[in-house]
């Protein structure tokens, strides 16, 4: 189970506050050693991402990671981020953005972030990403049994 909240022109902190209020959750936010936030006592998981005008927040009953990114491809990043197979498959800026949000949502799901190693996330093998396109943005959500 998951629920996605997507809003324009709101900070991550304010969207989280709003969603917690809507779901009647009053709980302290705690962080793991890599900075991933959790609710201290509530069994609900959440994750937040921000890009340009959008802030995206996902809540789930299991570990979850989310990333939103405006469609673009910085000129240097490809070499640092992609393995050889991914480089071969990327034919457009959209392809790159999709691969990036998948990698980010996966390392955020793990709770480790970029420190995990972006090349270690092989998007040609890992399945079950929930991918959405909103205007010029892509959103990827990763978690187990997302429905």
């Amino acid at each position: 189970m998951y629920k996605l909240y997507l809003e324009k022109n709101i900070s991550s902190k304010d969207l989280l506050k709003k969603v917690l209020e809507e779901n009647d959750i009053q709980d302290k936010i705690i962080y793991n050693e890599y900075g991933k936030p959790y609710l201290e006592n509530n069994p609900l998981y959440f994750n937040i991402s921000h890009s340009g005008i959008y802030t995206a927040l996902v809540i789930s009953d299991a570990e979850v990671g989310i990333d939103i990114e405006k469609i673009h491809m910085p000129k240097n990043a490809l070499l640092h981020v992609c393995n050889e197979e991914e480089k071969r498959l990327i034919k457009s800026v959209e392809d790159f953005t999709i691969m990036w949000v998948k990698k980010e949502s996966y390392v955020k799901y793990l709770g480790i972030g970029i420190s995990y190693g972006l090349k270690n996330v092989d998007t040609t093998k890992i399945k079950d990403f929930v991918l959405k396109k909103v205007g010029n943005y892509y959103i990827s959500i990763y978690g187990k049994n997302l429905k």
């Binding site: 890599y34 900075g35 921000h50 890009s51 990114e69 910085p74 000129k75 240097n76 990043a77 490809l78 070499l79 640092h80 981020v81 990036w100 980010e104 972030g113 970029i114 420190s115 995990y116 190693g117 972006l118 090349k119």
Partner: protein, 75 residues
């Protein structure tokens, strides 16, 4: 090397280099998001022929941190 690194940051992030000094915090002062940060890392790797490990990126918070890190790697 310090001036060169600041010039690369300015070019990659498309901001005036006058806005950058050693104390500048990439996320807090320049709103750098993770993809831009990785792009910057890739630019340094290419320029200085070094490898910047993803696990080190979280420690590169200020421009001063980047300068120290690259100076140490680029011997």
């Amino acid at each position: 090397m310090k001036e060169e690194i600041i010039s690369i940051i300015a070019e990659v992030l498309e901001i005036p280099k006058e806005n950058i000094n050693e104390k500048t915090n990439l996320v807090k002062d320049l709103d750098v998001e993770s993809l831009d940060l990785v792009d910057l890392v890739a630019a340094f790797e290419d320029k200085y022929d070094i490898e910047i490990l993803d696990k080190d990126i979280k420690n590169l918070q200020t421009v001063g941190d980047i300068i120290k890190y690259i100076e140490k790697k680029h011997v």
